[in-house]
Symmetry: C2
Subunit: 189 residues, 2 copies
DNA sequence: CCTACCGATCGGTAGG
DNA sequence: CCTACCGATCGGTAGG
């Protein structure tokens, strides 16, 4: 099954947005990447803003789907948080679109899409923080500030997207385990 | 002592670059911010690229100066790493230019300045990682991968710049202590 | 420091 | 899906 031209554009856009940023990526850059003229892109997407919007909204849904799955499983709060950190690591190194959406380029969304995106994101954060609160109440976690902890965990994996080289010596599994160890157990011996 | 017009431009640029990104900030935006015409900016900076370059280079030097101070003090590796994490937190919440430089906008530097910046950054990272190696050898830290740990620590504070509201209930000191606790001792009770 | 203006490039459209 | 083209905006310059 071939990838549709629309999918090719979508993926090339995510790559360019990650590497150069949304504003620095022109429709002519994007067209060249997929072997079209700039004007032909408009047969697949109504506007440049729409390409970004699709990437951001799809990925907000992906994170929320991951959250839904974690919530559905029985497990302690620390098992749930561990699964979510693994989710963030995996998406960061496997899927370039997730990074575009979650990190920086969502800033360039226009209203009303910006508000819609932020609402999905807020929902994800709230559910993440609820698990932290649950873990503290159960005596699994130290009594940290749930807001600070959640943002620290989200950011802690933000360097992966421009550092991790797939197929290198470090496997995704090793990376997940190492990062999980640092965040859950700390650095001090 | 008044701030010079050049300093005003420099600071307004850092704020705009952080909020909208380098590419999305026009010289006309920047001019309006400081009450000038766009063409008048060129009496203070030779180009838009030069404004970014000054911000990035100054801040690379600031991080290296912080590193130098930490290295000069006697202390265990974990004291040094703690001081450096505090440095990152402080710069993130106190100085908008540091964020522009360290996080994302340095990507828009042009050669040969991009290479020069990356070299300073690499030097900082190497010295940071050397302290981690020293801490592991001394039995202070768990035997983690120094590269992974260093990047995890750098990123862990990257959310602060668009979240922290000075004068809010949470003081800078509380924030530093909380983040240090999470990273050094871990979350699990 | 301003007015006036430049060539280049942008996102996007018309028409086929 | 292409050619041809649009108005707007960009970084930057000339001249005073």
């Amino acid at each position: 099954m071939e990838k549709s031209k629309k999918d090719q554009i979508y993926e090339a856009a995510a790559r360019l947005f990650r590497d150069k940023g949304y504003q620095a990526t022109s429709m002519r850059d994007l067209a060249k990447e997929v072997g079209l003229q700039a004007s032909s892109l408009y047969n697949h997407f109504p506007s440049k803003a729409d390409v970004l919007r699709e990437i951001c909204m799809n990925n907000a849904q992906r994170f929320l789907a991951g959250m839904h799955e974690v919530e559905a499983h029985e497990g302690s709060a620390s098992e749930k948080i561990s699964s979510l950190i693994r989710l963030h690591v995996q998406l960061s190194i496997e899927d370039v679109t997730s990074v575009t959406a979650f990190n920086d380029e969502w800033r360039h969304l226009e209203e009303p899409h910006l508000s819609a995106f932020l609402q999905l994101r807020k929902n994800y954060e709230n559910r993440f923080q609820a698990i932290i609160v649950e873990g503290i109440a159960a005596g699994e976690f130290k009594p940290v500030n749930p807001l600070i902890l959640s943002y620290t965990l989200f950011s802690a994996v933000r360097w992966l997207y421009d550092w991790y080289q797939p197929g290198k010596k470090i496997t995704a599994k090793m990376l997940e385990d190492e990062i999980l160890g640092i965040l859950m157990e700390g650095v001090r011996k």
